[in-house]
Amino acid sequence: METFTYYPGCTLRTKAKDLDTYAIASAEALGISLAEPADWQCCGGAYTTAKDEIATKLSAVRVLNSAKQNETPLVTVCSACHNVIKQTNYDISRDEEMASKVNRYLALEEPYTGETTVYHYLELLRDVVGFDKLKEKVVNPFTGKKIAAYYGCLLLRPSKALAMDDPENPTIIEDFIRAIGGTPVIYSQRNECCGGYITLEDKAQAQKRSSAVMTSAENQGAEMLITACPLCLYNLKKNSGSELPVYYFTELLAEALGVKEESNE
């Protein structure tokens, strides 16, 4: 069994337990063990673009460094954590000043300069497992189900740093849906923002955004919608006013692999 360092992030241990448990169970079913570092902290939540703000990036570097010491790639699953960690990794490997400041703060035994490879869980499925292989392992396929992939804004952008998929015309979640036997639904709002944190400040705006996403998916005939982001899930469920079911992609994965029941025990 191949082992990867795994960073769950704080939401996955509170509001978004489903995203986490199904991810771990499914990985095991696919022959991958996800090892969690002992003392991880919150990723920071949002990547600050202020160049001199180093403190909020230290937590991400700590977990990147543990993966380096484990000599494995780092796997993330929450869109926001993935965004912060990959951007931090991208910047530290290119910005010498940032790298030197960060290393002076952390005083690691050996300085960290972006050596770790970061995979989003979807990339793990695509690039390590392979969607073809995944397809072979599916026992409960979602045959005939019209499933809409919701990317949101954080999963793919900024595309240079995240280097995951084309941010305007992505295919990775659609390919995942095909692998578990479903039919992907293409709709225009799949890579637009759900409203994000603005729900705390201006609920009406968040309602407008998330309802635009859900209506667009409904109009194209979607029966359900899947996402990798806890905040998106929250907005789409609570603010959109739509009845369309929203799930984490890992839940469908666990169900397709036949490990959903056991992971709930």
């Binding site: 305007e168 015309n169 293409i186």
Partner: protein, 663 residues
């Protein structure tokens, strides 16, 4: 003893500003064998040429070196001058001290030193030059036009008019190309069919023109004046000589659910079909992918109703071989596929259409008989949004880096026609820039804005979202007002970038001619030889060379015809004497040269040789056909025994140049 003259050109300041030409002339004048060395401001001018001619006569020169621009530019000029002065033109060598020296260096000292070295190399080579005499090869007085759109038709008509036979090879069942699908033309708004179809008929009736429709070029051999071309005549399962084009078979065919490519798939046709009413040749074609008789052997309705017995289900593809003196490429363009542009919702709503689809929707012979209706519910659209530059001027891999040139004008045309016919319809056009150079073009665009009140908005559309009420939300930015816009539209029209036809690349390989990174054919010179390819005898007509509108296409088509006629007028053409030849005594018949020859110029012959002991022996040796050899030199490099050599570029000449440079 050789008597060599050296002539150093200033090229105004092109060379003289970076190279100390006086020093170059002086230094080269001291080289062994050089009897005269001069510099002059413009060596290619008449007085410059006279300087060269007079020196040849006065000093009885046996070879000359011109230090000037690239030989591609003026080698021929100086060869002619030498010939006029009685010197064999192949005793002229060019040292390129402009493109390969003065234009790329900044420091005078280095550039001057390099110019001297290049001059020395040319002198070393000219010492070994031998006089060569060019042979002649006959010209087949017939042209091939590949592609039967407006470009191919115009080229063929002009060549036929000059009295030469010409074949048009068209891959589709009819000629006419893209122009046949267009409704009106800018900036005059005259009907495309009304000006195109008479030309199609003229082409079919001209006794010098043979239209080979539903055919493709599969192989090209030979060289300028003497091409041998294989053409695959695809089986249309209808005998062209019998079919009268009555159309009864198309009416009776029970298989009526075939997407109609002429109407961009907006309606259906039958499995046996005539693309459109004015098709030339007006002959039916059976689509084997949908014909029940060809697929399952059950049906045969068309055969039963055909009164002349033209249907032939057993027809096979046929290969025709023809000889031509000139080939004109007119393969045209296609709009790009919009698969990768999900943001414009092309695949999500039938009411998001391309501009070419809109042409069909507005055409009297189109799916709606000329009434503009939404494809989804056949209602009249009240708000239409046009998006320009879809895939054009893109810096990413999914689009094209170039401007497709025609979209600004046809979008203005569409907008104006819609406002004219349906004044209750609001029309928005999103643009990056509006580009309207051309006769009466800007006036036309301004009429759309000022007279027809089309809303032109600078900015790009970010997202197109089909809604449940059938409307389409268009989210865009207005860059001048600095606002986000949401337009509640009924239809969206995408001006897709254009790209060369997919058949162009394999064709370029067959013709050994060049393409650019976008697969447009490359002209021999971007300014001075725009309709010839770099390969002799291959000419370029229309959008295969770059995006063009109809007037430009027709102009280029006629220009290509004029160039082809110039070639066909000649009874024979002068061959390049710089071809390979084999030293039979050294050749061991190994076939290495034959394998690398891209032109098939090398064959092997069995030849009798006299041995020292007075016996004879038959040996297999290489033989070069000088008419086919293009002088590329591949064989001279491949030959292991050094038997193969190139006239004018012999191994010893090249080595002498290298030695002179490395000295």
């Amino acid at each position: 003893m050789q008597r060599i003259g050296v002539f150093v050109c200033h090229c105004g300041t092109n060379i003289a500003a970076t190279v100390d030409v006086k020093t170059v002339a002086e230094t080269l004048g001291k080289e062994p064998g050089v009897v005269i060395s001069q510099d002059y401001q413009y060596m290619c001018s008449e007085s410059g040429q006279n300087l060269v001619k007079d020196a040849i006569k006065e000093h009885n020169l046996t070879g000359i070196v011109i230090c000037s621009c690239s030989p591609r530019m003026h080698e021929n000029t100086f060869r002619k001058a030498a010939a006029a002065a009685g010197l064999n033109p192949y005793l002229v060598e060019i040292a390129n001290i402009r493109e390969q020296c003065s234009w790329i260096h900044k420091e005078i000292a280095t550039a001057t030193e390099k110019a001297v070295i290049l001059g020395r190399a040319a002198i070393a080579k000219v010492h070994l030059n031998a006089p060569l005499t060019a042979g002649e090869s006959p010209v087949v007085k017939k042209a091939l036009v590949i592609g039967g759109g407006i470009a191919g038709i115009q080229t063929a008509l002009d060549i036929a008019e000059a009295g030469f036979d010409v074949d048009i090879v068209e891959k589709n069942p009819t000629i006419g190309g893209k122009m046949a699908q267009i409704d009106k033309t800018f900036p005059t708004l005259d009907c495309a069919a009304c000006i195109l179809t008479p030309k199609m008929v003229e082409a079919s009736q001209n006794e010098r023109i043979t239209i080979r429709s539903f055919s493709e070029v599969t192989d090209v051999k030979g060289f300028v004046g003497n091409f041998t071309v294989k053409i695959k005549k695809k089986a249309r399962y209808v005998d062209e000589t019998k079919c009268t084009g009555c159309g009864l078979c198309t009416e009776k065919c029970p298989m009526k659910k075939v997407p109609n490519e002429f109407n961009m798939g907006l309606d259906n046709r039958s499995a046996v079909y005539i693309p459109f009413a004015q098709a030339v040749p007006k002959v039916a074609t059976i689509d084997p992918n949908y014909c029940m008789m060809l697929k399952t052997g059950k049906c045969g309705v068309c055969s039963k109703v055909c009164s002349v017995g033209a249907i032939n289900y057993k027809q096979q593809d046929e290969i025709i071989e023809e000889k031509y003196g000139a080939i004109i490429v007119a393969t045209g363009f296609n709009p790009i596929s919009l698969d990768k542009y999900d943001e414009f919702a092309y695949g999500q709503s039938p009411d998001v259409v391309t501009s070419l689809e809109l042409e069909r929707l507005m055409n009297a012979a189109g799916p709606n008989g000329g009434t503009l209706l939404r494809p989804s519910d056949k209602t009249h659209p009240h708000t239409i949004v046009f998006v320009q530059c879809v895939g054009s001027r893109c810096d990413d891999s999914k689009g094209k880096p170039y401007c497709s040139k025609i979209c600004c004008m046809y979008t203005a045309k569409h907008a104006m026609l819609i406002r004219e016919k349906y004044p209750d319809t609001e029309v928005y056009v999103f643009y990056i820039d509006v580009r309207t150079p051309g006769k009466n073009f800007d006036e036309f665009y301004r009429r759309a804005v000022e007279q027809y009140n089309v809303h032109y908005i600078k900015g790009m559309v970010g997202k197109v979202t089909p809604k449940s009420d059938g409307k389409i939300d268009v989210q865009a930015s207005d860059l001048l007002a600095n606002e986000q816009l949401h337009i509640n539209a009924d239809m969206v029209v995408l001006a897709a970038a254009i790209e060369p036809d997919k058949t162009a690349r394999p064709l370029a390989t067959m013709l050994t001619t060049q393409m650019d990174t976008n697969d447009f054919f490359t002209e021999a010179h971007p300014k001075l030889r725009p309709v010839e390819s770099a390969t002799a005898g291959i000419f370029l007509s229309g959008a295969c060379q770059g995006p063009k509108d109809i007037p430009e296409t027709v102009a280029q088509a006629s220009a290509a015809a004029a160039k082809a006629i110039g070639l066909l007028c000649k009874n024979s053409i002068t061959c390049n004497p710089c071809v390979a030849h084999s030293n039979e005594l050294m050749c061991n018949g190994c076939s290495s040269c034959e394998k690398v020859c891209p032109y098939g110029a090398i064959t092997y012959i069995d030849k009798e040789f006299r041995m020292p002991d007075r016996t004879t022996k038959v040996r297999r040796v290489a033989s070069v056909n000088p008419a086919v050899c293009q002088g590329c030199g591949a064989c001279t490099v491949a030959c292991p025994s050094g038997a193969m050599d190139l006239n004018g570029f012999s191994n010893s000449q090249i080595m002498a140049e290298v030695d002179a440079i490395c000295k």
